[in-house]
Symmetry: C2
Subunit: 413 residues, 2 copies
């Protein structure tokens, strides 16, 4: 038989599996599981009726373009709508720097491919979105972490890290950040910090990759658009590649996202996308375009914010009631996640077996780091489960935590 190991490329031999996807596969085999693992949106918030009407009109039209191959940069009227979306976020984009991608995950991969050679440094906040870590690692990037403070990346540490890497003659390709309700921490980078970061990037000539899937999901009374204004909005020098998506505000099954990049970078991304998938799904793009121009996306946002805030509140309250001081997390002002620290002595990877036996899941913190990490950390997603399921899941988690503590105290006797 064929020996495959010798046939794999170096990249192929050293691929890193997605911890989140793996948890999804594990979870799918457990009946009645409450999953706090996947960062999926709530399917009851998808605008089913509107999407059905839109899709019916599109397919009734028999317009060839609805089902034919499309341009690599995306459906032109959708791109024009995206330029308008960017304007509402304070960013002056144009049709020449905007590209539709097959989910933001593709955007991350494509940007990585045109910027990173194997061995180049890719800077990430600690912790950082596991899917970005995996994508950059699979390209062969040397991932180097930078500490985060409550208001975002620690710029002093960032500067020391870049100086160190460069003094060791390594090329620093970019810094990847998620300023709005970061995955996994839920943290919001302050506006002054964003300006400082942009100044720093200009001083050190570093490109920024700004990932913004959650910016529209802020929890209103506390937070608004002036807090979530992208770094890209202040990008006079063309130093920021900005990524966003309809996965959280419309539906992820449509796989429509976009990026805005300096024209020279956008051109490279178009070329690499030609060979990566020719074009993003065209029916999907047409549906999203109609949802944008008929106002479905915008008019749905207040309800999304209200409902995700409610879910967040329910999870925070339940955790407080069930576990009190045994568990802690920074209060998120938007997004899908709580970034929680389990009790002293816990190892989230080890504890997962007990949690799954209790029919509740999470993603262990290790997935979001690139070097050492606190083994007590877990990401709890409140986005997908219904409110009663969140409460039930927290009860199960609390019970499993108490069981684990009982075992720990016995074995330490």
């Amino acid at each position: 038989m064929t020996d495959y190991e010798q046939h794999f490329s170096r990249a192929g031999a050293h691929l890193q599996e997605s911890a989140i996807r793996k948890m999804g596969a594990v979870g799918a085999r457990i009946p009645d599981l409450v999953s706090f693992a996947a960062g999926s949106p709530a399917p009851d918030l998808f605008p089913w009726t509107a999407l059905r009407e839109i899709t019916d009109r599109l397919l009734e039209s028999r317009e060839p373009g609805v089902l034919q191959y499309g341009g690599t940069r995306g459906y032109r009227p959708l791109i024009e709508s995206l330029v308008e979306v960017m304007a509402t976020r304070g960013v002056r984009a144009s049709v020449d720097d905007t590209i539709v991608t097959t989910g933001s995950q593709q955007g991350i991969d494509l940007v990585g491919r045109i910027l990173v050679d194997p061995g180049d440094v890719l800077l990430v906040e600690l912790p950082a979105y596991a899917g970005a870590i995996t994508a950059f690692r699979n390209i062969g990037a040397r991932l180097v972490g930078v500490r985060q403070e409550a208001d975002g990346v620690d710029i002093d540490h960032l500067d020391r890290v870049v100086q160190r890497e460069r003094s060791e003659r390594r090329r620093v390709a970019a810094l990847y950040v998620t300023p709005n309700f970061q995955n996994p921490t839920g943290l919001l980078m302050s506006q002054p910090k964003r300006r400082l970061l942009l100044d720093w990037a200009a001083r050190r000539d570093v490109l920024l990759i700004e990932d913004d899937p959650y910016g529209a999901i802020y929890f209103d009374e506390e937070t608004g658009p002036s807090d979530t204004r992208p770094i890209k909005a202040g990008d006079e020098e063309g130093r920021v590649v900005y990524l966003s998506s309809f996965s959280k505000t419309l539906a992820p099954g449509l796989r429509v996202a976009w990026l805005v990049a300096p024209v020279a970078i956008a051109g490279k991304i178009e070329t690499v996308k030609q060979a990566a998938d020719l074009c993003t799904g065209v029916l999907d793009q047409r549906i999203v375009h109609e949802a944008l121009t008929t106002g479905i996306v915008t008019s749905g946002l207040p309800e999304l914010r209200r409902r995700y805030r409610e879910k967040c509140d329910v999870m925070e309250r339940a955790l407080g009631q069930e576990l009190g001081p045994l568990i802690a997390w920074p209060h998120p002002r938007g997004g899908f996640f709580l970034w929680a620290t389990l009790p002293e002595g816990f190892d989230a990877d080890r504890f997962l077996t007990r949690a799954l036996a209790a029919k509740v899941s999470y993603v262990t913190g290790s997935a979001f780091f690139v070097d050492e990490f606190d083994p007590r950390l877990v990401r709890l997603s409140f986005s997908a489960p219904a409110v009663e399921r969140i409460e039930e899941g927290v009860r199960r988690l609390a019970s499993a935590i108490r069981d684990e503590m009982a075992v720990m105290s016995t074995s330490s006797l």
Copy 2:
């Protein structure tokens, strides 16, 4: 301002643009153009009514999975249907070796990424599908061409090429072939040649990438399933990665294709796909699954074969009538393309300006080669235009050819 050149990766700096996509962009700016450039299917052959009904049912169901994130390998019932499709093609596949991809273009890119390191040899038939050449080149492959005979790749030449490359201490990653109605030549690899190729691959320990988008589009009376049986059907050793697609048999705007690979390779492809786009569009997959299980795909095939054969006949007849012995091509037994040789002294790249001025387009042969080539070669797609437009396009092409010949004879005086 930012100097981007220094920020690009080596791969990013040396990306190759898709000649076909470029022609598409050029053509879109010319009103009333007859395009023989794009290999697009005919949109009037898309099963509009059936797809509309299917999609309406799916969205009416409000089943969360229709619009939610999906598994990276694809929608499980679709994978099960694909295993059945493979059985009809003589291939024993399983759910563990079958993966849904975002178009076959993604399949080619992902397979390339796990097999090819920069500098590794990737063997291609000459000529070969331009999109594969671009994908492999963008990964950094050293593309080495192998001659084709009327019945497929020249195995003696192939063997000499592999021996030569290995003697120069290069790693040979795989051979990429399109045995059924090859893009661009329309050639059909004979069944004996397929067996010889598989034997050769075992002897030399080379993996095969078998791309089969056109296998179902044979022109019945002459050709049938026994002629298009994939190489993969005889692959006892697990040496073939097989790719196919619904772009030609259903609609390319849905971006649903699949691959069947040895389990070890399929696992790697799943992992690299996790980071490339998480999953293929889920609504698209559900639509394709319904189209398969309700029989829409299969029942549509006879009509597709009849209509594409008719278009091929019309183009062949028109070329013969308009140009007689000035133009030649191998008669295709299926697929979307004529691979034509322009008159003596022509340069297809140079002649393109005149052709576009006459409002007809093609893809120049250069896009399908990796080293030297006959500059007279062009790929003419008959798949998309209506019959009358094919006739009109051939008249325009013939007129442009005669004009070019007149100029050539004048300038050679």
